[in-house]
Amino acid sequence: MFSEQAAPTAQGLLASPSAEPPTFPRVPVSGYSDCSQLFQLGERSFSRQYAHIYAVRLAGMRPGLEQCARSRWAGVFAVLGMESWGPWGLLVLAEAVRAGPVSYQHNLVPQPPLPKYIQPSDELILEDELQRIKLEGAIDVQRLVTGTILAVYGSEQDDGRFLVEDHCFAGLPPPLPWNGPSSDRFVLLASGLGLGSVSGEALLSTQLLVDVVTGQLGAEGEQSCAAHITRVILAGNLLSQNTQSRDTINKAKYLTKKTQAASVEAVKMLDEILLQLCTSVPVDVMPGEFDPTNYTLPQQPLHHCMLPLASAYATLRLVTNPYQANLDGVRFLGTSGQNISDIFKYSSMDDYLEILEWTLLAGHISPTAPDTLGCYPFYKSDPFILTECPHVYFCGNAPHFQSKLLQGKEGQRVLLVTVPDFSATQTACLINLHDLTCRPITFSSFGADNED
């Protein structure tokens, strides 16, 4: 099926049952280490301003960017932001002044949420610790988002605007050594299970997914292939958006006293599904936008008391969003998609894969945090800065499946994957760790031409 190493004795289903059914042991877990400690928050204090993140982001990315800029634009240039103003400028923070939705506090009619918040009248302003300057010229104003760190090359005009001739980002981070497995090993990536939704269309597909992974589906050929799946990563939105309804807040208390939150039923369903998966394969569960955990990035892992049945198994790992780990020597880094969809809303880029690639080249997982995406007020360091180049970089809850292998100048090889929303597309991704390829696997229950 999806591996050339299907069992040679594989028979179809139309054969009499063999006297001794063969067993296919799953490939053993080797070399897993969790690298997302920097996304785990201990004691949280919100009594800090967000200026710290921006300052740390700038200070953290400035050295790398300066090196990049000097190698690209060889020659003498002065650094903007010090006392001496040179004709050429260096980096700092690109900020765009955008017309966002009207706030409720001003008692104005709230605007409906738009898919995109870009307008032709947007401006781009470069800012550092001391000052800000408006940018014009060879720079796409609508493509960039607030919070990006970049270097610009150009000259300052008399009226205080900066005419950009060229700009550059931090580029791909330095590569990690490759210690991938020597044979085919697969990791299944799925996101957006959407449990607790009004329509139960995706439930059969979810059950099919679980059956394929646990080897209960198909003949011996498929089962032997499924035994090569070493891990399942659920990248967010395990619960559907319907579980987030706020009727209980608007209605009177006597009407809603006995009603249970929709997420309770959904979490019970999730627990049962995870139980089936955990008995057979290690599972990493990342929280998403609609899951019962905190809203600000980095989202903390779901609490194990919500999943009593599945937590009994050591194969269940509740992890943060974003998530970083070494699986069999391959570095995975990914989010549940909130960062990409936020950039999608505030930029003219339309393609999720393009945005994913752009965040990797810009050297930051989510530049729009904390401006338009909620973020914890870090003060010491910005954990979203990319310091090492992952081998697999994914984002969940994308509209459709896309993947691309990116090659860098310093020998980086990154597989970019946009994991589609399972409840809408019934598609999950299978990543082969051996050769960094990815393919979608779709579980449709009724074909389009099936009229019965």
Partner: protein
């Protein structure tokens, strides 16, 4: 008579309130006069916020610390202690001056030295 046991004996209170941080009306609720006195004494100590044996840091030191706060190279100074800010600057490679750290560690329990710049009431 044995001391009334408090929950703060087993779970020591970690957040220290600055200045007159005692909740209003607490002294009135206490019926035990002994506790009343103890509270008053405690409040007094909290108001002073330093033991009488420690000397006041000299104004030159405070001025140096203020200048450290206001220098823009090391990032914003609000909401974090000076020591945290110094350590952050060190990690980012901005080489903050060493004497500041020595001074901060020396007068660690003096809130005028270590204090974090905060907006009202935080």
């Amino acid at each position: 008579m044995e001391q009334p046991r408090r929950i703060t004996d087993s779970f020591p209170r970690r957040l220290r309130r600055r200045g007159s941080g005692r909740p209003p009306g607490r002294l009135k609720d206490k019926k035990d006069k002994k506790d009343n006195d103890k509270d008053k004494v405690q409040v007094k100590v909290r108001d002073c916020s330093r033991s009488p044996s420690q000397s006041l840091p000299d104004p030159a030191l405070l001025e140096m610390l203020r200048r450290f706060d206001l220098s823009w190279e090391y990032g914003p100074c609000t909401g974090i202690t000076r020591l945290q800010r110094w350590e952050r600057a060190q990690e980012l490679g901005l080489s903050p001056p060493g004497p500041i750290r020595d001074a901060l560690l020396e007068h660690q329990d003096n809130p005028d030295v270590t204090y974090r710049w905060m907006w009202d009431g935080m």
